[in-house]
């Protein structure tokens, strides 16, 4: 089956831990449809999951009720944006922060950086936080 590109998909999920899986599965299905390698599909699932986890964990309930996940694909790459209305954060400040259960926070960004070809984080008080990740299709 021929893959149709460019393709755009936008997903609105409640800002809830339970819906991170929905974003992850959507990302995986789309990457598979776009004929990324199995290895890259796994990386894309994980990166989107990490970005959504950040969005649901670092925003208080009254700040934002949903997370928007945008996928945009063309012949050479898949761009994923995870957007929330939270106040944003300084990525350099969370690299070693401890979580409430004594674990290590900031691992998510480290994972995304390792898996994606490009990562760009923008924080704006009006529009919120956007984590933009790009994965290039491997040339055969």
């Amino acid at each position: 089956m021929k893959t149709v590109v460019p393709a755009q998909v936008e997903l609105h999920i409640p800002r809830s831990c339970e819906f991170v899986r929905v974003a992850r599965k959507t990302a995986g299905a789309l990457a598979h449809q776009l004929q990324f390698t199995i290895h890259d599909v796994a990386d894309i699932e994980l990166a989107v999951s990490e970005a959504c986890t950040n969005a649901v964990e670092h925003v208080s309930d009254d700040e934002c009720s949903e997370v928007v996940v945008r996928f945009s694909a063309d012949e050479e790459k898949l761009v994923m944006e995870v957007v929330d209305r939270g106040p944003g954060f300084d990525p350099s400040c969370v690299s070693s922060a401890e979580t409430a259960d004594g674990g290590v926070g900031g691992l998510g960004l480290l994972v995304i950086r390792s898996l994606m070809d490009e990562l760009d984080i923008t924080c704006d008080q009006k529009t919120g936080t956007c984590v933009r990740m790009t994965k290039y299709r491997k040339q055969p």
């Binding site: 831990c17 796994a42 674990g103």
Partner: protein, 117 residues
Amino acid sequence: MATPLRIGTQLKGEGLAVLSLSGEVDVSNTPQVRDAALGLLSGGATKLVVDLSETTYMDSAGLGTLVGLLKRLKEAKGAMAIAGAAPRVQRLFEITNLNRIFSLYPDVAAAAKEVGS
């Protein structure tokens, strides 16, 4: 509804316990993982093997929970090892350099031997 995950716990005696995670571990179910593990520790376990042989997915939320458990066990002079992680899960340990902190073994028997069963 949290991501489906089957959590198994076994107290083996002599302070050894096995925590088995079957399915996907993410931010929605890490509280249950932590609670199950803490139940083992409060039941007397000081040596914990986390069996990931049937874990099909794990992200940094799961890793963070494991780090928290390792800290608790070390404070109690206990030990912890990871067993049977699939390549996809093992890669997560490597990306985050946590493979330098955790001992990863191919199966529960090898991990149990390492933590001193």
